[in-house]
Symmetry: D2
Amino acid sequence: MNTSFFGELLQAISERGRSLLDRARARERRDTLTETTENLADLCEELLSNRGEASGVALAREILARYDDLTIGPRIAFFEALATRFGADHTRINAAIEAWRNKPSDVAAAELHAATEPRRLELLRRLNLAPQATRTLVEMRGQLLDTLTRRDDLAAVDADFAYLFSTWFNRGFLVLRRIDWSTPAVILEKIIRYEAVHQIRDWVDLRARIDSPDRRCYAFFHPALVDEPLIFVEVALTREIPGAIAPILELKREPLDPERATTAVFYSISNCQRGLAGVTFGSFLIKQVVAEICREMPRLSTFVTLSPAPNFAGWLARQRTQPSPALTEADRAALATLDQQDWWSDEAALDEMREPMLRAAATYFMTARNSSGSPLDAVARFHLGNGARLERLNWPADLSERGRRQSCGLMVNYLYDLGDIEKNHEAYAESRAIIATSAIRKLARPSRALTTVEAAS
Amino acid sequence: MNTSFFGELLQAISERGRSLLDRARARERRDTLTETTENLADLCEELLSNRGEASGVALAREILARYDDLTIGPRIAFFEALATRFGADHTRINAAIEAWRNKPSDVAAAELHAATEPRRLELLRRLNLAPQATRTLVEMRGQLLDTLTRRDDLAAVDADFAYLFSTWFNRGFLVLRRIDWSTPAVILEKIIRYEAVHQIRDWVDLRARIDSPDRRCYAFFHPALVDEPLIFVEVALTREIPGAIAPILELKREPLDPERATTAVFYSISNCQRGLAGVTFGSFLIKQVVAEICREMPRLSTFVTLSPAPNFAGWLARQRTQPSPALTEADRAALATLDQQDWWSDEAALDEMREPMLRAAATYFMTARNSSGSPLDAVARFHLGNGARLERLNWPADLSERGRRQSCGLMVNYLYDLGDIEKNHEAYAESRAIIATSAIRKLARPSRALTTVEAAS
Amino acid sequence: MNTSFFGELLQAISERGRSLLDRARARERRDTLTETTENLADLCEELLSNRGEASGVALAREILARYDDLTIGPRIAFFEALATRFGADHTRINAAIEAWRNKPSDVAAAELHAATEPRRLELLRRLNLAPQATRTLVEMRGQLLDTLTRRDDLAAVDADFAYLFSTWFNRGFLVLRRIDWSTPAVILEKIIRYEAVHQIRDWVDLRARIDSPDRRCYAFFHPALVDEPLIFVEVALTREIPGAIAPILELKREPLDPERATTAVFYSISNCQRGLAGVTFGSFLIKQVVAEICREMPRLSTFVTLSPAPNFAGWLARQRTQPSPALTEADRAALATLDQQDWWSDEAALDEMREPMLRAAATYFMTARNSSGSPLDAVARFHLGNGARLERLNWPADLSERGRRQSCGLMVNYLYDLGDIEKNHEAYAESRAIIATSAIRKLARPSRALTTVEAAS
Amino acid sequence: MNTSFFGELLQAISERGRSLLDRARARERRDTLTETTENLADLCEELLSNRGEASGVALAREILARYDDLTIGPRIAFFEALATRFGADHTRINAAIEAWRNKPSDVAAAELHAATEPRRLELLRRLNLAPQATRTLVEMRGQLLDTLTRRDDLAAVDADFAYLFSTWFNRGFLVLRRIDWSTPAVILEKIIRYEAVHQIRDWVDLRARIDSPDRRCYAFFHPALVDEPLIFVEVALTREIPGAIAPILELKREPLDPERATTAVFYSISNCQRGLAGVTFGSFLIKQVVAEICREMPRLSTFVTLSPAPNFAGWLARQRTQPSPALTEADRAALATLDQQDWWSDEAALDEMREPMLRAAATYFMTARNSSGSPLDAVARFHLGNGARLERLNWPADLSERGRRQSCGLMVNYLYDLGDIEKNHEAYAESRAIIATSAIRKLARPSRALTTVEAAS
């Protein structure tokens, strides 16, 4: 009689998740039938056939359940079958080429397009008929990506997954949700697991990051993966741009009244679904979170990151061990301290290294490029590509094991100035221009003196 | 602090709808800028360019808002631009063909596939970044379909919409919802508007169909169109297979205790979104509703339709006015009564016509084919294609104006026998076999005596 | 696995409503047992006994279901039983009085309080164990109130209901909800039915009042009556204080952009549940809606009603037909037009009556009192008691049949000035002071010349 | 436009929780005003006055916020004020007694009832106007209960709280919710904190109890305390009646397929809100959970507890240290092992003690009574009072520190046989009959030989 319509709609979405146990049971039944299941690819052919139209849901469910039961070896065999048996039809391609050559028209181009579509694309679309299929397909691609490092021949299969997912996970279908202490545990557990930048040790650590008045966390969700965050960002509200990570992660700090905050610091962004690699969410997430925070706290004026420099340690090591104009001799000498054991716990040594380190870092950001001419630093590529500018270098800012190993303790702030984002992005997009404050530019050694191209990151 | 996570997730989805007023306001502002807006296509180029990456959401919103403001003429001009300016790149196609001819490989096929993808596909995907974009794009295609009847040259554009929508509206993303008296008015209003088979006159009529213990209504929804049903079906619970529509639509009937029902009658299926024409939902909807009802009322044993025969009246008129073996002379004479005014209100005449009419109907279903060899009757094609069988012919069953005009008063029952659906579907799919009860087969005149192919429906 | 916690919580609340059909079925079964059901009061005794503790839910459900089946006569007999069999225990009272006289202590007062509590109070609390019981109990009191007019002896029973409901429906448990076009039809249907001031003719009329950008509607709900509004208010957003109702109810008006509104007009407040008579919600509703609107539209500065004067027509008729200082002779003569047929359709006559009518109205509001010294006008008592002030008199403002019959076409604006509400309320509470603008005060004939006390309204 | 009505209704309820931060801020502001806040009781008088009607919400909020800021001493002073200043009016009581003596009527009884109602009851009802007030009032009574042990004079105040809460938290307003891994963390955290029987060590332990296919957890909630469970029960699904707690709490067990379960074991019931002491939920909870589980798993046939015997250790110690017919000399000797250190880790000793221990336990349950004639065992009183029967004694069943200290390692099963509950309850209610299996009855020493009355538990 009196129920919540849209609530039930979502209920219906989420109840799909309940089928896991049923699946477990179905599996047992299946186990008694294993001799007949050898050929998953044949079932896929069936799904693409007439019969697939009538009983598509059941067939798709069966295929995904069987795939789920496979060990790695047979899964790779399945990927091979996708590559070899479910590509495009060469005869049809050749005929379509002939037609195009006779008369290059829209119709001929469309037929050529259709003829070159690998059959596995339609197969993946039909597999999605099964309950929970999207989840399984995303996991399937995760597995495929793991395989890919050793198996170039599966690249085409991966490209088809990527293409399909970028259509399905179109930004227009994503939903931004705040993550806080009223979020279901099933989601929070994943936030703990997926945090990739600054590890969340346990539920106490988690709570400090999401349930404090001066902390925020937001994630993107897709309606078909309702209890799986796709990407999330952690935000600290502060009164100034922070220069180190430890005070932000400190469990015992005194929370700031958010009314007094002036600055939102994005100190961690983590992708959650390996199977969605290459489908970009990060840029949209940051911009929408900025909009969200602006609406809640109109007084906030500064949006900034506190980011690692993941390729800095490697670059610096190379400059120190080979002749390089990137370092003056004095700085090279000062940075030799890095070779001492436990250099990070010697306050005096840190003091002495600080200036040389900042000069090296400035030079790194302003001049080090990868083989395609983009900044060598992967995080810089992301934020500069989004239209942020390089605002400040901080050292020492992260002396954790990971911080030392990747970034020699360096962290940087990228500033999102809403008025400049578009202009910055265009400058970057056209010429890979590094937008940075003049302070940083001045610190850097002149780039014309440098070999600016590094090996691909 | 303590809010409902998934509830808010959906809230977030649905709040997108609130932007309508904002859009109206934005429009006013835009009006003062009209001289600079002449070229929507240029904005689309921008959205496909680098700048589109940085400010895609804003650009997409702007383009869709401007499109919304256009009158029909300029909209058609926009479709033309999509056809002519946003197709595939011929040079790239030719180069890809060259590469394929040199070495026909997966890589070459993939490049050929990419080269032949019209640029408007990526454009449509980027337009979907805007809030509420999916809704606008579906409406846009509705408009395009209206245009298409006079403009063959836009068929390729339409095919791209259709392809994209069949990916976005994949069955795996749809949600089945029951429609009842606790459904929001904004949805119910659309059920009234979209009912295509047996008109819903007003809210009283609606309530009789959704808020009676022996009635059900279900619809498919997509999370991005949260207050727009895609397709819905109306169901009556009865104790026997019904032979006429009027008792089902009767407002003053005594409702049946659903516990005593044995039969679920699907008496109306309506597609709601013209812009989603060609994306098939009906087959999935019927099967899922059968599953839903089975779960709620395990005692129900019979699932059947009460359907019109929309091509019967035309076919019968042709058999009556030209020499045809489909009618015996006696039946032809009896059916001449159809030429009398108000034949439908003469009980005695109806009695006399009944047997001849049923024979004609049986012959129609068993033998009349369209040019592609499928049943001439469009509804028969749908249900037989889903694996139902033709169960019973009913006459007179619908003497409404529409019922007489389309079906000469005939209605038929298609039976969904869960055990036979797959087998029936395969028989139909392979040979267009008409699965019907022996009673109907015997009634029909032998098909070998007949010209079985009719002009396309 | 992944469901909405709070959503389900409410789901659980609302599913209680589904039991109606079950109840209908149970009723059939019961019908075969009618001979054993004669004594509902005995079942009530059982519910109050030990057995009631073990199987209270089932017993309560049974009692309420049987009550539901009764016709009016037996229901009144049941109320009589509540009055006579379920009062307080006189022996216990006398003992408690003895104890108090011996030693007037807190403990003795508490025992006296307990001893004087009628047993029916505990009975009503236990009846509430049944699913949907609150709804049935509210309806039961509605019936009791109808009976009360002829049956003084049931007043004590009614007082117990009123006491219990004022505890259960404490303002702290009510929830304010906006009513709009996305509200479930089951609620909207009740808005149509319960509107008591300006009838809602149909769904089109309803939609104009709730789904226009310059209209709002809010209602209070109680979690135990989830699809039953308790009271609702309709609001129009305007640019000035309105002087007539017709333009507000007009279906074809051009909606005002709410951004441009300066004034919120409360033009209709309706109580929905007869059974909750005497439990006051109106004052809280108005204040919370003011707060709600302020938050949504901070620019709004004026909160005002457009209200009928339901006791004015009767008062005026008395002044006109008997010697009274309330009217000058000239005004009395002018107002004689009211005796002419169709006076309301004669523009010239209306013009001439306007000033005399406004003078009479001012005198009415400033001087006419009921026997307890409060304003004679029931609506004035409500709004002045809430701390509003009488702002403006409008004539002619409502020439509908009802408007003429009750108010002679008069409507008035009460202004809620947030800064003055408390002060106004205190002045009214202490001395029944009529807070009105000086314009109205000047219009009124001096009250010392008048008999200010009227018969009770 | 398109939002979820009931979802928002609950949203509105839950958003009340957000005000905590605001309250913290208000507190700061208040701190500067402390000199004017000394007299909370005066504000309470104001809330009960006329002014309280106009600005009740603001006043109530202010009073509760000030109370919240108080330390324990001033809070007790506030309770004293409630006791002394907000009792009933003696003059009015005496007048009402006079009226009753003159004419003992319903009206006179009602006036006597009203006269003896302490003013603090109305005060508490008005305090509930403030946002989140119910929560604060429940906490306030928790504090009061702590005080009560030393302050008999506050008992009347506590009785008023208890009376009011039993009306507000009427079973008819409670909502049963399943607790699982999709429950918000804010609730789960409280489940961990409130578990009173078998401590939940951490989130891993919690997950094992709520997110395993053979475990269930249910709680009652009240809409005004939406993120506070009132009481919860933990259930294990098993294939037999369990005889020990450790296997149930084991983290590493293999979960049972719930389809194969035959038995639902209620192994822990915890009340959550100290402030609701005396408002009984447990009986309703068990019965509704039984109904819920029956609906989900109709095959389940056995509903049983695994319960401690919290008064057994004390009783047994007394029987062992003083002459008592409850133990034979042989058993007394055997049980002397309990005096040895670490007796619980000596398998052989346990074996030898087993039979004597079970005989003692049977005697304990069948014969030991408190001063009011009820079973000495508090848990037995609860379950037997609900209509369960004592089914089996298990030893050793809980050798944890708490298990040994309270129950000497004993645990018992109470069986809820749906067909017998009502009969059992009546037998218990009338004569405190101990319903137990014959096996237990036979094990017990004959009660006529025993002093059956123990000191109050």
